[in-house]
C-alpha cells in the first residue's frame, strides 16, 4: 500500500480528476494549500504597491492505493497536471503502514478500494 501525495496547479484540477477517473482511481482527497516552488510566488498590485513573492494557491491530492495502482496513478496525475511550465507541481509516494475503513472495520488492501 502506498500513499500518493501530489501538489498541483489549481487550474489543472479538472484535467487531473478526469485522468484519474479514466485510470479507475476513484477515491481521492483534495485540499487547498498555499506555497511555492521554484517559480517564487505571484505579483499582485494594490493601489500601486506591488506585492511579490506571495504564496500561490495550490491543490494537494492525497490518494491511498494498492501497489498495482501506484504507476497508473502517477501517470494520470502527470498527464493531467503537466503544462510544461515551472510550477506544475510534484508527486510524492510514501509507504502506507495501515488503512482502516471506519464503517466496517476492514483493514489493509481491502479497505483501500
Amino acid at each position: 500500500m502506498k500513499l500518493v501525495i501530489a501538489i498541483i496547479q489549481p487550474h489543472r484540477l479538472e484535467e487531473v480528476k478526469e485522468a484519474l477517473y479514466k485510470a479507475e482511481v476513484n477515491l481521492i482527497t483534495v485540499s487547498e494549500v498555499f506555497g511555492h516552488g521554484r517559480q517564487g510566488g505571484v505579483t499582485e498590485v494594490y493601489r500601486g504597491f506591488k506585492e511579490t513573492g506571495n504564496l500561490l494557491r495550490k491543490i494537494r491530492l492525497e490518494i491511498a492505493v494498492n501497489d498495482s495502482f501506484v504507476d497508473p496513478t502517477i501517470k494520470a496525475i502527470t498527464q493531467g497536471a503537466r503544462t510544461g511550465e515551472i510550477g506544475d507541481g510534484k508527486i510524492f509516494v510514501l509507504d502506507l503502514e495501515q488503512c482502516v475503513r471506519i464503517r466496517t472495520g476492514e483493514k489493509g488492501s481491502a479497505a483501500i478500494g
Binding site: P10, H11, E14, V42, E44, V45, Y46, T83
Partner: protein, 444 residues
C-alpha cells in the same frame, strides 16, 4: 504569461468621446421655461436618481456572489467601470442621441456636452423639474442597462474587449432604443407603446443582448462537466436587496414627480416583487424539494423586471398576477429552455431580464387601465385589445434590432482584439489574470 498591452484603451476612448463634444462645452441658458419648478417633484427625482445609481453596485453584488470566487472582482469591476465610463458617455453624447429632438429613429447631436440642457424644465419631458434632473435620472438607467448583460458572458470575457463592447453597445443599441420609446418624436412612442420605466428599453434590450453574447462567446469550459455553484449566495442576497430598494427609484421615480402615479408605481412594484419571490420559492419547494435562497431572490428580481413597464398603469391585483406569472416563465426559461438550447447564459441575464421584460411589456398591454392612470391606455382586459398588439409589436421591433446590432458589435470587437480570454486565463480566473488582484487573501 504574456499579456497584450491595452492600457491605452481607456484614455483613448475618453479622448475620442471628448473630442466629439468638447467644443460644444459652454454654458447656455435653457429653453424658455414653460412651467414652474416644483420642489417636491425635484427632490423625489434627485433621490430616485441616487437610488437607481445604487442599483449598479447592487447588481455587482448580485452577480458577483453567483460567480466563482476567482472571478468575483472581475464582475464587480465590470459594473463599477460601467458606472464610470457610461456616465461620461451620457453627458458627452448619450443623452443627446437619446433625448434631443431629431428623427424618429435617433436624437440629434445638439445636446452634446449637455449644451442647452439647463436648470429650467424642458416641457416635452417634464414641466416641474429642471431639465438636468431629468437628464441625470435617465443617466442611471443608461448605466445599469449594459451592466445587466454582464450576467451572460461572466467568467470568460477579456476586460479590454468588454470595455469597448460596452461603450459601443450603449451608443448604438441603448441610445437609439431609448429614443424610440421615450424620446420626443420616437417611433415607438408615436406608435402608442406603453413603457413606464423601461421594460423594453432596459430589460428586453439587455436581455436580448445577453442571449446573443452568450451564444457567440460560447460556454464556459467546465460547465458541461458539472454545474458551477455560486461562490457566495449571501453577497447575492445583499445585491438583490439593494436592487429591490433601488427599484423604487427606478419605477416610482419614473413618474418624474412626487404624485399619485409615483405612489401607485411604488406600491405595485413592491407587490409584484413580493409575489414573484414567493412564487419562485414555492416552485423550488415543489419541484426540487426545498425553497432556495437563490430561487427567492431570482424571483424577486424577475418580479421587479416584469412590473417595470407596467408600474404606472396597473393596480395591485394585476401586479400580483404579473409577479406570479413572471416567476413561472423565468423558471421555465432557466431550468427548461436553457439546457435544451445549450447556451451558457452564466447568470441568467436573458432568462430573467429578457423573458421577464418581454412578459412585462405584454402584461402592460393586458392589464393597463385608465382608471389607474388617465394619461396611459386601457389594455386587453380593460376592453382595448389594440394596446396588446402595440406592446407586442414594440417588443418585437426591439428584439430584432437588439439582436442584430449586438451581434455586429460583438463580431467587430472580436475581429480587432478578441473577446474571449485564453483557456489558461479562464482556468486561473479573471481576477488575477485581468486585474492583478484577488477578492480573498490566501491565508490571513
Amino acid at each position: 504569461m504574456r499579456k497584450r498591452n491595452v492600457w491605452w484603451i481607456a484614455p483613448a476612448m475618453l479622448l475620442l468621446m471628448l473630442s466629439t463634444g468638447v467644443l460644444a462645452d459652454e454654458a447656455t441658458p435653457a429653453a424658455a421655461p414653460t412651467a414652474k419648478i416644483d420642489t417636491g417633484d425635484t427632490s423625489w427625482v434627485l433621490i430616485s436618481s441616487a437610488m437607481v445609481m445604487l442599483m449598479t453596485p447592487g447588481l455587482a453584488f448580485f452577480y458577483g456572489g453567483l460567480v466563482r470566487r476567482k472571478n468575483y472582482l472581475n464582475v464587480l469591476m465590470q459594473c463599477m467601470i460601467i458606472l464610470a465610463v457610461l456616465s461620461i458617455q451620457w453627458v458627452v453624447i448619450g443623452y443627446s442621441l437619446s433625448f434631443a429632438p431629431g428623427s424618429k429613429w435617433i436624437g440629434g447631436l445638439q445636446w452634446m456636452m449637455l449644451k442647452g440642457v439647463g436648470l429650467e424644465p424642458y416641457a416635452d419631458y417634464s414641466t416641474t423639474i429642471p431639465h438636468q434632473a431629468f437628464m441625470v435620472f435617465q443617466m442611471m438607467f443608461a448605466v445599469i442597462t449594459p451592466a445587466l448583460i454582464i450576467g451572460a458572458f461572466a467568467e470568460r470575457m477579456k476586460f479590454s474587449a468588454f470595455l469597448i463592447f460596452t461603450v459601443l453597445w450603449a451608443t448604438f443599441v441603448y441610445d437609439p432604443v431609448a429614443h424610440w420609446v421615450w424620446g420626443m418624436g420616437g417611433i415607438l412612442r408615436n406608435l402608442g407603446a406603453l413603457d413606464f420605466a423601461g421594460g423594453t428599453v432596459v430589460h428586453i434590450n439587455a436581455g436580448i443582448a445577453a442571449l446573443v453574447t452568450a451564444l457567440v462567446i460560447g460556454k464556459r469550459k467546465s460547465v458541461d462537466k458539472h454545474p458551477i455553484p455560486p461562490h457566495s449566495l449571501p453577497f447575492s442576497v445583499l445585491g438583490a436587496a439593494l436592487l429591490w430598494f433601488g427599484w423604487f427609484g427606478f419605477n416610482a421615480g419614473s413618474a418624474l414627480g412626487a404624485n399619485g402615479i409615483a405612489v401607485n408605481a411604488f406600491v405595485v412594484t413592491h407587490t409584484a416583487a413580493a409575489a414573484a419571490a414567493l412564487t419562485w420559492a414555492l416552485i423550488d419547494w415543489r419541484i426540487h424539494g426545498a425553497p432556495t435562497m437563490l430561487g427567492t431572490i431570482s424571483g424577486a428580481v424577475g418580479g421587479l423586471v416584469a412590473i417595470t413597464p407596467a408600474a404606472g398603469f396597473v393596480g395591485v391585483g394585476s401586479a400580483i398576477i404579473i409577479g406570479v406569472m413572471v416567476s413561472v416563465f423565468c423558471f421555465l426559461a432557466v431550468s427548461w429552455l436553457k439546457p435544451r438550447f445549450g447556451y451558457d447564459d452564466s447568470l441568467d441575464a436573458f432568462g430573467v431580464h429578457g423573458i421577464g421584460g418581454f412578459w412585462g411589456a405584454l402584461a402592460t398591454g393586458l392589464f393597463a387601465s385608465k382608471a389607474i392612470n388617465p394619461a396611459g391606455a386601457d389594455g386587453l382586459f380593460f376592453g382595448n385589445p389594440k394596446q396588446f398588439v402595440i406592446q407586442l409589436a414594440a417588443s418585437l421591433v426591439t428584439v430584432v434590432y437588439a439582436f442584430i446590432i449586438t451581434l455586429i458589435l460583438y463580431k467587430v470587437v472580436d475581429l480587432f482584439i478578441g473577446v474571449r480570454v485564453s483557456d489558461k486565463e479562464e482556468a486561473m480566473g479573471l481576477d488575477v489574470t485581468q486585474h492583478n488582484e484577488r477578492a480573498y487573501t490566501a491565508l490571513e
